[in-house]
């Protein structure tokens, strides 16, 4: 019998059908499909837009199963485990789930477990687990490291993974995948439900959800909810003026204010925290009606963020200026418009953000995109087209990190001695690790045991030892304690407290904490510099120990924090669409006049490249020679490219002096005309060999990647059994460790982990490789007499030039020269 053709309500047990009817609701088709799949014990991925009753769909099968057996007939065992990327979301979902449970009077106990759960409650949960437990990936790892884990999870029937799209392709996703592989061993019969926003490639998540066989691949079933109403996306664009460069969209603040005025509650999304600060300032400058506009980003003190969230929940705010911190999370019913300042960087991100407005499926979400410069106009148009056409960008599924694997191996050992062969097979069943080589696994185990160094100096201090039966066990109970203190894969940049002190007091004399900011930004400030933080203009006074001290100032023209938090590169997919739009003059008609004219002049004086071409322009300007190219691969990939090209140009004796990269282009300048260079050779893929190696050794970003890997893998401990090591100490020593390790054991497993991480992460080497392949034989060179229109945005950013590795000594010399000049000045 085909269940799907039955009238909806008859599929549900009587109390559930009655509950839906009493509320005047009709179960959604996808909710019923999930019930069906679950009844057959199948794992499913549910792809649904926000507002689709997704969470209830995930729990409905569990509630039905639990309701079908009287509480007394059940052993006290955990039935359903729910994992959310956010602690707050887990708590919110638990609260919402209580409503149907109490209204139907179901005999179901629901609890959460987060970092805030009291020790007594944790203990009770271990011995007498609830029916449904809601938690995070990190807490799951901690539970699995306990010797009680086999008993706690033995009766597990279902796992629900919320916001899976946001977790899967990250280190937290790796950790979760490994946790799931462990659960599979402890409770082989359980089924899984993944809940995801619309994604380009659901197959990747379908594989992630289920254990992978040794050969071939397994996939969870896919259920797609019927899409909501088509969103209304407007693009703010002035016909008179569109800036050439910059990211602040200052010119459009009036439009933004009008959109806020016309909304009940608006979310104003920006891409970086510094943009959030500046936008907040700009809006209040013109907020004549004194509308309640608040600020929310990850650096603000937690109390302040909670205050904003609470005001939002009460409906007391008209707008919140926010970063990706509000991409996910609790639904706020009142939000009826989303305003995206700056380009969206990816179509999927745009869909996610638009979905934050209006949680009813049948009404369209309303969004306003506000491009901050000319290239961003193209990017916004391309993103809107993609969203309306239902096309999304997807990340390439990344391979599981070896650093996360090391942490998991220790986790498993803390629970019980393990057999290496069995654990290897178990880990390979996790999709991100299905290509893991045995040799790499063995090296990771060796790393966990004694550091994995060729010079076997630490065997006597081992963390793991082999038992006579050939099992790996922890050498001492303290190893488990140390693991629990340091577990987790979220590594923040080293941060300093920002403390507000009274004017005229000596620096370091105490003050209220306003929030936390990245150390590298604060260290770049000199006393007297002003910047915007926490919604006000502050004067930097100095750093003492673990805090930066600031005072209030009324300086209206603050130096803006340039910290990078929350910055995303332009997605490959969207980049392609922008290149296509650029190459097709027929599409220019929809662009605002200044942008259309900009492209027409470009076409006249130089050329507009076809989608698969790379345009390289060279021209003199002032006393310098320029080379500008337009790969559209995002700032990170362009910066790496810039480093590599300047090395090559130096070798060709073309004397490059510096370069600047933005999201779309790379500009290099020097003393000699670079137009005669053989561009095919210059841009050849072989630059990714030795030159890259040599540059990586010096790169601060690479060292930061190493630091994160070293912390996650357990080489550097963030916390010791006696008190915490501060971020400042950790960074400094991780650079030293990196230098020593690289010199003496360059093929160490942790350096491998760092390289793999950097290739997809901070440095985007993978992206660069793809680009160099794409443009091979398709480079078009234009030797011009003067700067082209397309080159202007890049040239305007030249003040933010990069400094290459070797040039760091030049800065020291410059500093010394300044000192000498000052000392030698007469009078």
């Amino acid at each position: 019998m085909n269940l799907a053709v039955q009238p909806a309500l008859t599929l549900l047990p009587a109390p559930f059908a009655a509950w839906f009817s009493a509320r005047g609701w009709q179960p959604r088709p996808h909710q019923l499909q999930l019930v069906e799949h679950a009844a057959r014990g199948e794992s499913v991925l549910l792809v649904a837009p926000t507002g689709g009753g997704k969470t209830l769909a995930g729990f409905l099968p569990s509630l039905i199963e639990l309701a079908s057996v009287p509480k007394r007939a059940r052993a006290q065992r955990l039935h359903t485990l729910y994992i959310s990327p956010l602690k707050a979301l887990a708590v919110d979902v638990a609260r919402n789930l209580e409503i149907p449970v109490s209204e139907m009077e179901l005999p179901v106990r629901i609890e959460t477990r987060t970092g805030d759960t009291s020790p007594s409650k944790r203990l009770r949960q271990r011995h007498a687990p609830p029916d449904i437990l809601l938690t995070t990936p990190e807490q799951l790892s901690l539970l699995l490291s306990s010797p009680f884990a086999p008993r706690m999870f033995a009766g597990l029937r279902a796992v629900v993974l919320d916001e899976l799209h946001a977790l899967a392709n990250s280190k937290r996703g790796d950790l979760l995948a490994l946790g799931l592989s462990r659960l599979q061993a402890l409770a082989p019969g359980h089924r899984r439900i993944g809940l995801s926003a619309t994604v380009a490639d659901p197959a990747h998540l379908q594989r992630y959800l289920v254990p992978q066989p040794q050969e071939g691949e397994a996939m969870a079933r896919l259920v797609k909810a019927i899409g909501g109403a088509t969103p209304e996306i407007a693009i703010s664009a002035s016909q008179e003026y569109v800036p050439w460069a910059g990211h602040l969209a200052r010119h459009a603040m009036g439009d933004v204010m009008n959109a806020i005025r016309a909304s009940k509650t608006a979310l104003v999304f920006v891409n970086t925290r510094s943009q959030a600060e500046r936008t907040f300032q700009e809006l209040w400058r013109i907020n004549e009606d004194r509308l309640a506009i608040a600020l929310h980003h990850g650096s603000l003190a937690p109390e302040q963020r909670r205050k904003v969230e609470a005001a939002m929940a009460r409906g007391a705010l008209r707008a919140v200026v926010c970063t990706s911190t509000l991409d996910l999370g609790i639904d706020w019913g009142a939000v009826d418009r989303v305003i995206c300042l700056g380009a969206p960087k990816g179509a999927a991100r745009l869909v996610q953000r638009i979905g934050r407005a209006n949680h009813r499926l049948d009404e369209p979400s309303r969004a306003l995109l506000v491009p901050a410069n000319r290239f961003e106009v193209l990017e916004c148009e391309a993103a809107r087209d993609a969203v309306l056409a239902g096309e999304l960008d997807g990340d390439e599924p990344k391979r599981g990190g070896l650093d996360v694997l090391a942490q998991h191996v220790l986790c498993v050992a803390c629970a019980a001695p393990f057999d290496a062969d069995a654990l290897f097979a178990e880990i390979r069943s996790a999709a991100p690790y299905r290509h893991l080589a045995r040799e790499d696994f063995d090296r990771v185990v060796d790393f966990v045991a004694t550091g994995g160094y060729a010079l076997r100096r630490y065997d006597r201090y081992a963390r793991l030892r082999k038992t006579p039966e050939g099992l790996w066990r922890i050498a001492h109970p303290r190893v488990a304690q140390q693991y629990r203190l340091n577990a987790g894969v979220i590594i923040e940049d080293p941060m300093l407290d920002v403390r507000l002190q009274a004017k005229g007091r000596p620096v370091g004399a105490g003050g209220r904490v306003l929030g936390r900011m990245e150390e590298y930004f604060l260290e770049g400030l000199s006393p007297g510099d002003t910047f915007v933080f926490s919604g006000e203009v502050l004067r930097f006074e100095g750093i003492r120990e673990d805090a930066a001290y600031v005072t209030r100032t009324h300086d209206p023209e603050a130096q803006i924090p340039s910290y990078q938090g929350g910055k995303f590169p332009l997605s490959t997919f969207l980049a392609r669409r922008v290149r296509e739009m650029l190459a097709d003059p027929a599409q220019w008609a929809i662009l605002p006049d200044p942008v259309g004219e900009w492209l027409r002049v470009q076409k006249y004086v130089s050329l507009v490249p076809k989608p698969d071409q790379l345009l390289v322009e060279t021209f003199p300007r002032g006393s310098k020679e320029y080379l500008v190219c337009y790969p559209f691969e995002g700032r990170l990939a362009h910066q790496t490219l810039g480093m590599l090209l300047t090395r090559r140009l130096e070798r060709l004796r073309l004397r490059p002096l510096g370069f600047v990269a933005n999201e779309y282009a790379l500009a290099i300048w020097g003393l000699r005309d670079m137009g005669a260079a053989d561009m095919d050779r210059l841009f050849d893929e072989d630059m990714l060999g030795d030159d890259l190696e040599a540059w990586l050794a010096e790169s601060a970003l690479y060292k930061r990647t190493f630091r994160n890997c070293a912390i996650i893998a357990g080489l550097i401990e963030r916390r010791h059994l006696s008190g915490e090591k501060t971020g400042r100490q950790v960074t400094f020593s991780s650079d030293l460790i990196y230098d020593v390790l690289r010199e003496h054991e360059p093929d160490h497993i942790l350096l491998r982990a760092t390289y793999e991480d950097a290739a997809t992460g901070l440095l985007d080497i993978g992206r660069l490789t793809g680009m160099l392949k794409r443009i091979k034989g398709r480079i078009v060179v234009k030797r011009l007499e003067r700067v082209s229109p397309l080159a202007v945005p890049a040239l305007l950013e030249i003040s933010k030039e990069m400094v290459a590795g070797e040039a760091r000594d030049d800065l020291l010399r410059e500093n010394e020269d300044a000192l000498v000049r000052e000392a030698m000045r007469l009078g």
Partner: protein, 220 residues
């Protein structure tokens, strides 16, 4: 290699980018806070830093000795990270130290981490030593600044230039006393602005930051 000479209590010392001071008049090389076997000290607490820090330091010392051919080497204390450090050296590293002991006279100033260097080490141990106008000790004293050459504090300085900040180990001096940077591969640092360092010096204090090929002066 560019050499930067400074005067301390009338004596000329050359500050090297490797972090050692060279006293040509006495053919004496001075190093501070080598912290041999810091890596293995952490390994005892099951944190497995790469076990190459001792070799890295030895290699750099050997390069310095080959360049300057010193008659005397003074290690300003905390040469070993802990009192058991010497027992954790392997044969290669012990041979290396023995060979260096044959090339120059070594003076091991006692530090707070290594109050008593082992007897088998070539050279002699001392709490402090005075040669000519200079006095060598581990911890800077609060009183006698004149001619004092010390370590212990691991000074570091940060400069900011064109929006980039660079933090490096450094020498600190005001012409009366000199504090050396830590030589050890894993030694952390203390900012020269912190009171523990700043309070030791008078008005005319300078930091010399270690660069790739030379040291660079900066205000401290």
């Amino acid at each position: 290699m560019d050499e930067t000479g400074i005067a301390v209590n009338g004596e000329t010392l050359v500050l090297t980018p490797a972090g050692a001071a060279w006293w040509p008049a006495q053919r004496t090389l001075v190093l501070a806070d080598i912290h041999f076997e810091k890596g293995s000290a952490y390994a005892r607490g099951r944190q497995f830093l790469p076990p190459y820090d001792t070799r890295s330091a030895l290699k750099r010392i050997r390069t310095l000795m080959a360049h300057h051919a010193p008659a005397r080497v003074i290690a300003l204390g905390d040469s070993f990270h802990d009192p058991y450090g010497p027992s954790r050296l392997d044969d290669f590293e012990k041979d290396c130290l023995a060979e260096m002991g044959r090339q120059a006279e070594w003076i091991w100033i006692k530090g707070n981490h290594d109050p008593a260097p082992p007897s088998w080490l070539s050279g002699r141990a001392a709490s402090e030593i005075s040669i000519g106008a200079l006095t060598f000790r581990h911890e800077p004293s609060s009183a006698s600044a004149r001619g004092e050459i010390a370590g212990h504090l691991h000074p570091c300085a940060t400069i900011t230039r064109r929006g980039h900040s660079i933090r490096r180990r450094c020498f600190v001096t005001d012409g009366r006393r000199l504090v050396l940077p830590a030589f050890g591969a894993y030694a952390g640092g203390l900012d020269v602005r912190e009171a523990a360092i700043r309070s030791l010096f008078g008005e005319r204090v300078r930091a010399y930051l270690l660069g790739a090929r030379r040291v660079y002066a900066a205000a401290a």
